[in-house]
């Protein structure tokens, strides 16, 4: 009998440690499917973050380096400068990329570093148990914003795709999400386009995936998807923020 659905080769055959309903599993699969479809697994070097996806080096079948918190774009830069002919990507969450790694991210984009960043925005620090992230929404309750994020004292959520689209080095930036099948298909399309843009040598690419954290949001996976639609998408509108791929 013909097998019509299987694990992508680029995804290792090991159990993932993610919580039930977490978006990481979906996005891992999308990245792996793209590596398979483009036939680049053997030519790709990934960079894993600190945070929930820290063990990504056990999940992707390509070579992987584990970076310090926030430093993935710098580590990726070092790799890419040594192997400009290889495909280099980082996989980072919002605390990693948009707080401790803001400088590394902005300057990798500004340099037009020819790498791809998969950025998971679920508005919370997941690994450490649900603290306020730079992308936590106003009023959102977390362990370190127990009365809801007060923008007067705790600042405003950072819109990463919008910010990075102002850099001249960015070639392709799109914000996608994974709440519905059509959105998941669009997310995969964006990830594929980002990798293709890198392979064409056009510069910095980033796909921001608006995702969920049922465990730390204190919701069921279905409630999380609803909360994402009602609260996150209005603040983080989906769409292409930068496209210089035709240039």
């Amino acid at each position: 009998m013909e097998q019509v659905f299987k694990r992508p080769h680029a995804l290792c055959d090991v159990p993932l440690h993610y919580c039930p309903g977490c978006g990481h599993g979906i996005v891992h699969r999308l990245v792996a499917e793209v590596l398979d479809e483009l036939g680049i697994e053997g030519n790709t070097i990934g960079v894993a973050p600190v945070g929930c996806a820290v063990f990504a080096y056990n999940y992707f079948n390509c070579d992987v380096q584990e970076a310090a918190h926030g430093r993935a774009p710098a580590v990726a830069t070092g790799i890419k400068r040594v192997h400009p002919d290889k495909v280099v990507f980082t996989y980072q969450g919002d605390g990693d990329l948009a707080a401790i790694g803001t400088a590394e991210t902005v300057h990798a984009a500004s340099r037009g570093e020819n790498i791809t960043i998969i950025f998971i925005n679920n508005a919370i620090y997941g690994m450490t148990g649900g603290q306020m992230a730079p992308t936590t929404l106003p009023g959102q309750v977390t362990q370190t914003s127990p009365y809801g994020r007060d923008v007067k004292t705790q600042g405003h959520p950072l819109r990463v795709s919008e910010m990075l689209s102002t850099t001249s080095g960015a070639a392709y930036i799109e914000r996608v999400t994974i709440d519905t099948v059509p959105h998941i298909k669009q997310a995969k399309k964006a990830i594929k386009k980002a990798f293709e843009t890198q392979i064409a040598g056009k510069g910095f690419t980033l796909v921001e995936v608006v995702s969920t954290c049922p465990t730390n949001w204190g919701m069921s996976p279905v409630e999380s998807m609803n909360w994402l639609r009602e609260n996150m998408l209005p603040y983080y509108p989906l769409g292409v923020y930068c496209d210089r791929t035709a240039e």
Partner: protein, 355 residues
């Protein structure tokens, strides 16, 4: 015989690194080591190498991590406050068994301190920087020629032992111009192939992972213990020092780096007065050549450690001597350099006191 050229210490370490096969340099400007970056910026594009000025020392050092993990010979340099920032990546490189060469051209601290020469990062270099159980090899040149001569070896050691190697100079050595020759020294070292590097699997092997995270305590303990076996080998085989006029010496000066040269002047001047003084100059600060303080102090009654700091190496000297001889300290700090006459006066004061 290669021609002699007049170069600054900073430029010498850059050129020596290039000659040792380093083609990747990630830097960030800070006085008094910026000439290293400037030299690399000029040379690297002409030889197919990469010079990249990062947005911070933190980032530069993490670029080194990435490039090293990708299998390259890679270097970065900084001065004291910048080394504090690079400490993060040093710990991760030690934990991921990654080779690199890092140069610290020390300036005075703490904080911004000053921009003049200092040796007040001895603790940081030999015992500190990042978190965790780890070591880096620390080399302390005392002349521009010695910088040139030890740089290739620094890269070889980094690759052989898969760990960071630090070249620890100071602002005086970095800024000083001296005539040197760039001659390829014969080396018996065998540098292994980097089969562990992330170069792409080509679908022909299991994926390589560069990582310092080990959640299971027994697993992490095992890895740290293995690393300490490697450190024990280094301690047994890589210690280096210079003993100067120590055979009959009744009084031993000890100093490293540029201060050791000042102390040599003091030794010669004191010997002209008939005072039998010698000098022990550690060349490797880790591993510290502790045995030299037994071997070369047979006739000595006491030891004076001279440093451009408030006394940091003096602790290692005391451990090496282990109470058998009195160990004294003289130092200048804040960016001041001890003069030979100050060292001479200190020796005479101590000899008077010892008699």
């Amino acid at each position: 015989m290669a021609d002699k050229v007049l170069v600054k210490g900073n430029e010498a370490v850059a050129e020596a690194a290039i000659q040792a096969g380093c083609r990747y340099f990630f830097g960030y400007p800070i006085t008094p080591q910026t000439e290293i970056s400037a030299y690399m910026a000029k040379r690297m594009p002409k030889i197919g190498g990469v010079f990249l000025q990062a947005e911070s020392e933190v980032s530069a050092a993490n670029m080194v991590y990435g490039a090293s993990g990708a299998g390259a010979r890679v270097m970065t340099s900084s001065s004291s406050p910048g080394i504090s920032l690079k400490a993060e990546a040093l710990s991760y490189m030690a934990g991921a068994d990654l080779p690199c060469v890092i140069v610290n051209i020390m300036r005075a601290g703490p904080g911004l301190g000053g921009i003049q020469a200092s040796q007040s990062d001895y603790f940081q270099a030999t015992k500190g920087h990042g978190h965790g159980d780890y070591r880096v090899i620390v080399l302390a040149p005392s002349s521009v020629q010695e910088i040139v001569d030890m740089t290739a070896d620094a890269f070889d050691m980094a690759d052989i032992y898969r760990m960071p190697v630090m070249i620890l100079g100071d602002g005086m050595l970095g800024q000083m111009m001296e005539p040197v020759t760039f001659e390829k020294k014969e080396s018996t070292r065998v540098v292994p192939e980097k089969t562990w590097a992330t170069t792409g699997t080509q679908m022909k092997r299991e994926h390589n992972v560069i990582n310092s995270l080990y959640i299971e305590p027994n697993h992490l303990e095992k890895l740290v213990l293995e690393r300490y076996e490697k450190y024990a080998t280094i301690e047994a085989t890589e210690k280096k020092y210079e003993a100067y006029k120590t055979d009959d010496a009744e009084f031993i000066l000890t100093a490293y780096g540029s201060v050791a040269r000042i102390c040599k002047n003091a030794v010669d001047a004191l010997r002209e007065e008939g005072i039998k003084v010698g000098l022990i100059r550690p060349i490797t600060l880790w591993p510290f050549p502790a045995e030299s303080y037994t071997e070369h102090t047979k006739n000595a009654k006491s030891i004076l450690t001279v440093e451009m700091s408030m006394g940091q190496m003096v602790e290692d000297v005391k451990l090496a001597v282990n109470g058998k001889l009195p160990v004294h300290f003289f130092g200048r700090t804040g960016g001041n350099i001890p003069y030979p006459n100050e060292v001479i006066a200190e020796v005479k004061k101590l000899i008077g006191g010892d008699k």
